[in-house]
Structures are given as structure tokens and as C-alpha cells.
């Protein structure tokens, strides 16, 4: 068999390959040759073959058949063989292969070899890929080597110890005595590696950390002063050629020491005090003209921020960062922005001083810098500077890359919500965001915005006018169009009547409004969700507008045969509304009340079943509780006269559909079924949790322990109110009370309103009743759900107020309910 080619030849041949396929062919041929040579147990050329194998491994080809060969090489006596063997072991082997355990004995022998280079090789390999068993076996040897006087070996042993500790943390104590003398060395290599070892020990175990902070010995070998001394020597000493890197001696060691100081000083006053001087010295003496100096300053700043330094030092650190920001080099600016982001929580005011520089960084070309600057700007927005910052951020939104737009838009929304100086400004800002980055805005922004608009009652006219103008020209940005159609549907009458205090009122006719909504419906650019919004808006306008009802009817009936199932369903139902339930239409499409912010979908998720005609569909919806303005609550308070009763705000039963005809439930149910979160506002044409019929079957709330007995809370004048209880499994302080009101007289009771108040330690939520009419002769009941939150598990008490019309006269009554069964509140 001819002598296998040298590595260089191989590399040269591979480089001549022009295509991937050619290269693969050559390599395979060579692999085959190597494999046969291995089989022949050829000692002389083994190392050459393994070297070639390593090269091929680096290029990405499988080389596992060489592992055993590496072992054989390690076992041989020649140094070159050993060298390649260990290298191969480091590259090819790791814990996952079973073969590596065979190496343990070889390494052990080599650790005691006479030549330091062999020992060094063994230490390196162990430190690189030793598994936990190997480490356990060989830790003693490593520790012995840690104490030798040979600095070449000491530094390698220290690094190996680091690896051992990483793999087997229990062995840390074994190395503790050896570390005492490590820092007394002059050799920087040893110093560096021992600092690494100490860092690793401190990071891994808080006990070690405490030990190092406090060790006091006669020879004053306390750790922190030692480190400080070494650092001082480094800075003060003159030019030393073997450690110099562009004018600074051994910056790597300096950085390492700073990092160890950081770990030692964190949360510890004594150590931090000892370090203050040296940190100030480093910060002021280091040259900043070269990158090296800046690297050291960066580490210093990080350390100052982390330990309990005095405020003067902190200000120094932030000023250094400010100087970094003005530097031309991108790397430095990036690093400064990153650290400022970390410190902005703690030293807010100091960072504010550099606000203008940060805002300038937004205009930088570099992507990483822009991202950092954007995050930092959002962190810096506060009540005082919100207007200025917003202007800059909006400008940034205009010009930034698409990947930033979503984050920027959400950030702007959050900041605007927290710090908006006025409602009008808030709405303006949001509109600006929608028009510039409309398509990148996140889905949940639309419902939030709608809720915000409903909340600012006095701005309705202004808002709807601006939105109308915004979509007049261009209706391609979906979120904008959705919000606009919703608003136009709600407040179209304000738009047409031309009253607006904040701005010049524009003259819009009803036809023009309908024009724009229709074009949204027809346009190709509209998503089907947007079309849903538009159709619903048109429908709502049928109650707000006076002269164009016929046109609306026509539009709605056209879409009754649309291909889009969603639109079709809506149109058909609206048609039904026109034809059969016209008397209900005004009530149904009345103005929406002010919405309370839906924060989480806690345990109060309600499962709502659809009406009788479509039985099998279930849908979960978070119940936004409609808040009634405080006037009703005040009435109740007056009546109940002050003690410790807090009023409860019932949901306004304004748009009250009567007991359901099947189709009406369909209407409400199907509106509820539109799955995407964006349409959550759309079903709120009628009162939010309207499908109370579904509430009677609430799988989330189980009657615990075979039911809590129900009580009769009130029984007078033919009106009887029963309470039934359920406790939630998920949240034991919530009790759900379902009231049933029945009427045993011969005449029905109409306009029935139930209100309730509970003591201060409770919270109460009233959901809408099923209707406001109680038919006579106990032929039907009104059902209403009350949820009581009772975190302190106190006895439940309630005062109720009932108002209704009976026999032509208005009746009202107050009562107190005290007979709650203990299981309902314990």
C-alpha cells in the first residue's frame, strides 16, 4: 500500500475541486484509503491519517471511525502522535461517545509524565471534554498539579479545574486550599487563569462567595485587597512589552479582575467600599482613544453599576456612557446603549440627561443601534417629555424598517396610554400611528382603541370626524378602517349633524357616509373582518340616520347572498331585524355604554351556548362588564344610607331584547361566534353578556358537594326572588348567585330592575338580566346572575332594591338578605 499522502497534499487537492460533488468524491476516496490503512494497523502513518481525518471533519464530513485511532495515538510514546491524538480526542470525542472512558487511564499516566508538554496536553484535553466520571477520577491529580511551581502547568491546571467544577460541582471544596496561593504569582498567565477559577467558584456557590469575601488570615490575604493591588500594579506599571496591547498592559487580565470584583461586590457593602477607589482610578486613567481602553471602561462601568457604589461613582459611570454615545465608532455606541438600558431602571434621572443623544441614535443607519435606541427611548418617556419624545418616535415609525414597526407601534400605544397629557392628544397620536403604520399594528390594538374612544365621551364628535377624513382618501390600512367604521357606525349622527368643538366641523351628508362604508365593503383590499365591521356599522346607522333607511335596507339585503359566510349570516340576520323585529331595532342598536377595560380572562370566563336552533356550538367569551355611570350607584347609596355598604354597579339593561325568539338568539349568538379577537367589539351591538340563557349551564362552576341550598331572598306582594348558589372550583372566593324572579299575581310586572349592594369587603358584579318583564301566574321567570368576590370569607350580606311596574303603577322596594347558607361564603 503506497504511503498515504500528506495533509498538505490533501488540502491542495481539495482546493482544486470546483464543485461540491467533486470535493465530496475526493474526500470519499481519501476516506476509503484512510479506513483501509487503519485496518492494517499501520503505526507509522497513523498520525498523518488522523490529521487528514480531522481536516475532513472540520469541513463537515463524518469522521467517527477515527475515534479509536485517536486513542491508539494517545497511547503511543511519540510526542507528535500524542499531540495529534489529543487534538483528535478534543475534536471528535465527547461525553456522548462510549469510547472516551478508555482515555482515562492514558490521561492519568500522562498527567504524571516527566515532560511538561505532555502533561499540558493531557490537562488541556481533560479540560476540554472530560466527562463527570473522568473528572471525578482525575481531580486529585489536577489538584496536585495546581500546586506545582511550574507556571506553565499551573495555568493549565487552573483551567482544567474550572472545567471539573463545571461538571462536578461537589468537588469545589477540594480546590479551595490550592487557590490561596494562586494570586501570589507573578506570571500573568497563572494570574489570569486563577482569576477565572475564582470567578467560576464564586458564581457557582454562594458559600464560596461568602468565604472569599471574608477570609482573614495573618498574612492579610484577603481577596478583595489582593485583587485591588494587582489591578493597581497593572495600571501603574510602565510599559511592559510582553503584556502590552496598544499601550495598555494586559487588558484581558484587567477585564477579568473587574468582573471578579463585580461578583464579589454585588450586594456587599464592605467589599464595595474597598473597591471604590480603584474603580475611580481605572475609570479616569484609562486611555479612551483605542478600542482596548474602551473595553476596559465598559467593564468598569458594568461593575460600578452592579455593586453598591457611592453615587459620585455612579454619576461618573453614566457620564462615561454618555461619552461613549457621542463616539463615532458604532461598536462603542451599541455597547453604551445596551448598558444604559440596563441602568435606566435604577438611575433614571441620570440617563435622562442623555436623552437627546439617544434620540439622535434613532436616526442611525445601523439596525442593532436603532433597535437599542428605540427600546431605550420607550424606557425614558415620562410625563414631562412625552410630547417631544412622541414626535421623534412617530417620525422614527415613519422611516424605520418593517421589522421594527410592530414593536414601535405597540410601544407608542403603551406610552401614550400612560402619559397622555390630554385625551385629544392621545387620540391624535393613535390616529397618526394608524395612518403611518396601520398594517403592522397588532390585533389587540383595535379593541383597545375602540374602548379608549368610547371612554372619552366628549371627544366623540371630534374623533369620528377625524376618522372619517382619514379613510376618505385611502382605506387600505385594515386596523384604521376597522376603527373608523366602528366609530362611524356608533357616532354617525354626530358626524352628520356637523357639531364639533375641537375642529372645523365638516359638512357631511348621510349619503356620503354610506358611500364610504359601501366602498369599504366592496373594495378588494378589505379583509373579511373589516367588511364585517362595515356591514355592522351600516346597520347601526339605520337607527341613527333618518332619511336613508331604505338605502341601508337595500345594502343589507344585497349581502344576504354574499359568498363570504360571515357577511351572509350578518346580512340575513339584519334583514330579519328589518322585517320581523323592527320594533326591537332601535333598542338593539342603541349607543354603546362606556366599556370597562377587560384586563384578564380570569376565572370568570363564561361559556355561552347558542340559541335553540343551533345547539351544538359553544364559544367562550370574556365578559366585559358594562359600567353604568355612577349616578345609579349614588342613588343606591343614598337609599341605603351610609354604613359600610358599597354600592354595586349593575350592568345597564338598556338594549333589552325581550325573551328570545329563536332567531334573535341566533342573531346574538352568531355575532358572538365570529372567532377572531378583533371582532370582539362587534357583537357588542347589544349588551355584552347577553346570552344569559347560556349562563345557566356553566361548566366552569360546579356545585360543590352536591349543591348549596338555595334560599328565598324576598317574597312580598306576589314577587318572589330565589337565590341559587354555585362556587367556582378555580377560584374559591367567588360565589355565583343566580336569582330567579317570579310573579304569582294575575298581572305581569314590567320594567323590572334588580339592584344589589354588599359590604365593603366584598365585590359584586351584576350581569344583565334575561329580560325586564316577569309574566303573571308564575308562568316565567327573570334570571340574573350575580358574582360575589369574597376574599376574606366573611359572612355574606346583601341589600337589594327592586323597581318594577305592576298594575299600572310604579313600585319599588328595599330589602336585606341575611339568610345566606354558610356554604355559600365559607
Amino acid at each position: 500500500m503506497p504511503a498515504p499522502i500528506r495533509l498538505r497534499e490533501l488540502i491542495r487537492t481539495i482546493r482544486t475541486a470546483r464543485t461540491q460533488a467533486e470535493e465530496r468524491e475526493m474526500i470519499q476516496k481519501e476516506c476509503a484509503a484512510i479506513r483501509s490503512s487503519f485496518r492494517e494497523e499501520d503505526n507509522t502513518y497513523r498520525c498523518r491519517n488522523v490529521a487528514k481525518l480531522l481536516y475532513m471533519h472540520m469541513l463537515g464530513y463524518p469522521a467517527h471511525f477515527g475515534q479509536l485511532e485517536c486513542l491508539k495515538l494517545i497511547a503511543s510514546q511519540k510526542f507528535t502522535d500524542k499531540r495529534i491524538g489529543y487534538l483528535g480526542a478534543m475534536l471528535l470525542l465527547d461525553e456522548r461517545q462510549d469510547v472516551h472512558l478508555l482515555m482515562t487511564n492514558c490521561i492519568k499516566n500522562d498527567l504524571n509524565h516527566s515532560t511538561q508538554y505532555v502533561q499540558g496536553l493531557a490537562l488541556c484535553t481533560l479540560g476540554c471534554m472530560g466527562s463527570s466520571e473522568m473528572c471525578r477520577d482525575l481531580a486529585g491529580e489536577v489538584e496536585k498539579l495546581l500546586k506545582t511551581s511550574n507556571s506553565y502547568l499551573r495555568k493549565k491546571a487552573a483551567l482544567c479545574a474550572v472545567h471539573v467544577i463545571r461538571k462536578v460541582p461537589e468537588l469545589m471544596e477540594m480546590f479551595l486550599p490550592a487557590t490561596k496561593n494562586l494570586l501570589n504569582e507573578k506570571n500573568h498567565g497563572v494570574l489570569h487563569t486563577s482569576v477565572v477559577l475564582l470567578t467560576e467558584m464564586c458564581e457557582r456557590s454562594p458559600d464560596m462567595l461568602a468565604h472569599f469575601r471574608k477570609v482573614r488570615q495573618l498574612s492579610s490575604s484577603q481577596l478583595v485587597p489582593q485583587l485591588v493591588r494587582i489591578l493597581k500594579n497593572l495600571i501603574m506599571s510602565g510599559y511592559s512589552p510582553e503584556h502590552d496591547v496598544s499601550g495598555i498592559s494586559d487588558p484581558f487580565l484587567q477585564v477579568r479582575i473587574l468582573r471578579l470584583l463585580r461578583i464579589l461586590g454585588r450586594n456587599d457593602d464592605d467589599s464595595s467600599e474597598a473597591m471604590n477607589d480603584i474603580l475611580a482610578q481605572v475609570a479616569t486613567n484609562t486611555e479612551t482613544s483605542k478600542n482596548v481602553g474602551n473595553a476596559i471602561l465598559y467593564e468598569t462601568v458594568l461593575t460600578i453599576m452592579d455593586i453598591k457604589s457611592e453615587s459620585g461613582l455612579r454619576v461618573l459611570a453614566i457620564n462615561i456612557l454618555g461619552r461613549f454615545l457621542l463616539n463615532n465608532d458604532k461598536n462603542i455606541r451599541y455597547v453604551a446603549l445596551t448598558s444604559l438600558l440596563k441602568t435606566v431602571q435604577t438611575d433614571h434621572n441620570a440617563v435622562q440627561r442623555h436623552r437627546s443623544t439617544i434620540v439622535d441614535c434613532l436616526k442611525d443607519l445601523d439596525v442593532s443601534i436603532k433597535r437599542r435606541a428605540m427600546e431605550l427611548s420607550f424606557a425614558l418617556v415620562n410625563g414631562n417629555n412625552v410630547r417631544g419624545m412622541m414626535k421623534e418616535l412617530l417620525y422614527f415609525l415613519d422611516s424605520c424598517e418593517p421589522e421594527f414597526k410592530a414593536d414601535c407601534a405597540s410601544g407608542i400605544f403603551l406610552a401614550a396610554e400612560k402619559y397622555a397629557p390630554s385625551k385629544r392628544w392621545h387620540i391624535d397620536t393613535i390616529m397618526r400611528v394608524l395612518t403611518t403604520a396601520g398594517s403592522y399594528v397588532r390585533d389587540d390594538a383595535v379593541p383597545n382603541l375602540i374602548q379608549l374612544i368610547t371612554n372619552s365621551v366628549e371627544m366623540h364628535a371630534y374623533t369620528v370626524q377625524r376618522l372619517y377624513k382619514a379613510i376618505l382618501g385611502d382605506y387600505s390600512q385594515q386596523p384604521l378602517v376597522q376603527v373608523a367604521s366602528w366609530c362611524i357606525g356608533e357616532y354617525g349622527d354626530l358626524l352628520v349633524s356637523g357639531q364639533c368643538e375641537e375642529e372645523e366641523p365638516i359638512q357631511v351628508t348621510e349619503d356620503e357616509v354610506l358611500d364610504i362604508l359601501e366602498s369599504v365593503l366592496i373594495s378588494n383590499m378589505s379583509a373579511s373582518v373589516t367588511r364585517g365591521y362595515a356591514l355592522t356599522a351600516i346597520m347601526k346607522l339605520s337607527t341613527r340616520f333618518t332619511c336613508t333607511v331604505n338605502r341601508i335596507k337595500k345594502v343589507v339585503s344585497i349581502y344576504g347572498s354574499s359568498i363570504d359566510v360571515e357577511l351572509q349570516q350578518r346580512a340575513v340576520e339584519y334583514n330579519a331585524l328589518f322585517k320581523k323585529y323592527d320594533h326591537m331595532r332601535p333598542a338593539l342598536l342603541e349607543r354603546m355604554p362606556v366599556m370597562e377595560k377587560v384586563t384578564t380572562n380570569g376565572p370568570t370566563e363564561v361559556v355561552q351556548t347558542n340559541g335553540e336552533t343551533e345547539p351544538a356550538v359553544l364559544e367562550t367569551k370574556p365578559p366585559p362588564s358594562g359600567l353604568q355611570p355612577a349616578s345609579q350607584a349614588n342613588d343606591l347609596l343614598d337609599l341605603l344610607g351610609g354604613s359600610d355598604i358599597t354600592p354595586v354597579i349593575p350592568t345597564a339593561p338598556t338594549s333589552k331584547p325581550a325573551c328570545a325568539g329563536g332567531e334573535l338568539l341566533d342573531l346574538l349568538g352568531d355575532l358572538n361566534l365570529t372567532g377572531s379577537p378583533v371582532t370582539a367589539p362587534a357583537p357588542q351591538i347589544a349588551q355584552p353578556p347577553f346570552l344569559l340563557d347560556g349562563l345557566t349551564s356553566q361548566p366552569l362552576f360546579n356545585d360543590v358537594a352536591a349543591g348549596i341550598p338555595s334560599i328565598t331572598a324576598y317574597n312580598k306582594n306576589g314577587l318572589k326572588i330565589d337565590f341559587t348558589f354555585e362556587r367556582s372550583n378555580t377560584n374559591p372566593s367567588v360565589t355565583v348567585i343566580t336569582i330567579q324572579a317570579s310573579n304569582s299575581t294575575e298581572l305581569e310586572m314590567t320594567d323590572f330592575v334588580f339592584q344589589a349592594a354588599v359590604p365593603k369587603t366584598f365585590q359584586l358584579q351584576l350581569l344583565s338580566p334575561s329580560s325586564s318583564v316577569i309574566p303573571a301566574f308564575n308562568s316565567g321567570t327573570i334570571t340574573q346572575v350575580i358574582k360575589v368576590l369574597n376574599p376574606q370569607k366573611q359572612q355574606l350580606r346583601m341589600r337589594i332594591k327592586l323597581t318594577y311596574n305592576h298594575k299600572g303603577s310604579a313600585m319599588q322596594d328595599l330589602a336585606e338578605v341575611n339568610n345566606f347558607p354558610p356554604q355559600s361564603w365559607q
Binding site: L7, R8, I11, R15, A51, L54, Y55, H57, M58, L59, G60, P62, R83, I84, L87, L91, D94, R96, V245, P251, F252, V255, R259, N291, V292, N294, A295, Y298, E299, L302, K330, N331, I332, R333, Y334, V335, L365, D366, V367, S368, I369
Partner: protein, 112 residues
């Protein structure tokens, strides 16, 4: 902690690779290709630190060769940047004016 150390040329050929954490061999080539793509798309006056998946890349270009080091969050990026330069200077001294060819042909020496 340094995750890996690569020297890759502009065509995507790896001249030197050292991984300090276990990465599957087929994933390595993919990783290297992606990394070099990221580095090539940066212009000269852009920052040398890129965020890639869950770690950072620090890269430096020397003629047609890119030295890329992957680090995690606890490392000082600028110190690593200096380390790269130091390494290249050492190679320079060892090979007296090192070039890419030297790197390709003397892998075993460079590793150790």
C-alpha cells in the same frame, strides 16, 4: 462564555472551527452558512455585534477572512473583540504575515 470560534472566508468555506459546546455535525455547516450570511450583509460602518438567536456574534473582517466568535450574554463584547484581534496578531507573528492559505494549511498548529 464563548460558544464557538470560526474563521470563514467570503465564499463560505470554513478555514477553522472550534466549538466549545456540542453541536451536531450537520447543524454546524448550516450554522456557519447562516453566520457568514449575516456578516456579509453588514456594511463597513455597521456595528460588529449581531444578535443571532439566543447569543451574540462578534465578528471582524481581515481581508477575505471573517473571524466570528459566538458568545453568550455574560461576556464583555468589546473584550472579545480585542481577543479576536490579539489572536490574529499572534498568528501574524507565528507565520510572519499570515494569510488565508497559512490558516488552511496549518490547522493542527492553530488549534493548539
Amino acid at each position: 462564555m464563548i460558544k464557538f470560534f470560526l474563521m470563514v472566508n467570503r465564499q463560505g468555506q470554513t478555514r477553522l472551527s472550534r466549538y466549545y459546546e456540542h453541536v451536531e455535525i450537520n447543524k454546524r455547516t448550516m450554522l456557519e452558512a447562516e453566520v457568514i450570511k449575516n456578516c456579509l450583509s453588514r456594511s463597513n460602518d455597521q456595528c460588529s455585534f449581531i444578535e443571532y438567536k439566543d447569543f451574540k456574534l462578534v465578528y471582524r473582517q481581515y481581508a477575505a477572512l471573517f473571524v466570528v466568535v459566538g458568545i453568550d450574554q455574560t461576556e464583555n463584547e468589546m473584550a472579545v473583540y480585542e481577543l479576536i484581534h490579539n489572536f490574529v496578531e499572534v498568528l501574524d507573528k507565528y507565520f510572519s504575515r499570515v494569510s488565508e492559505l497559512d490558516v488552511s494549511f496549518s490547522i493542527s498548529e492553530i488549534h493548539l
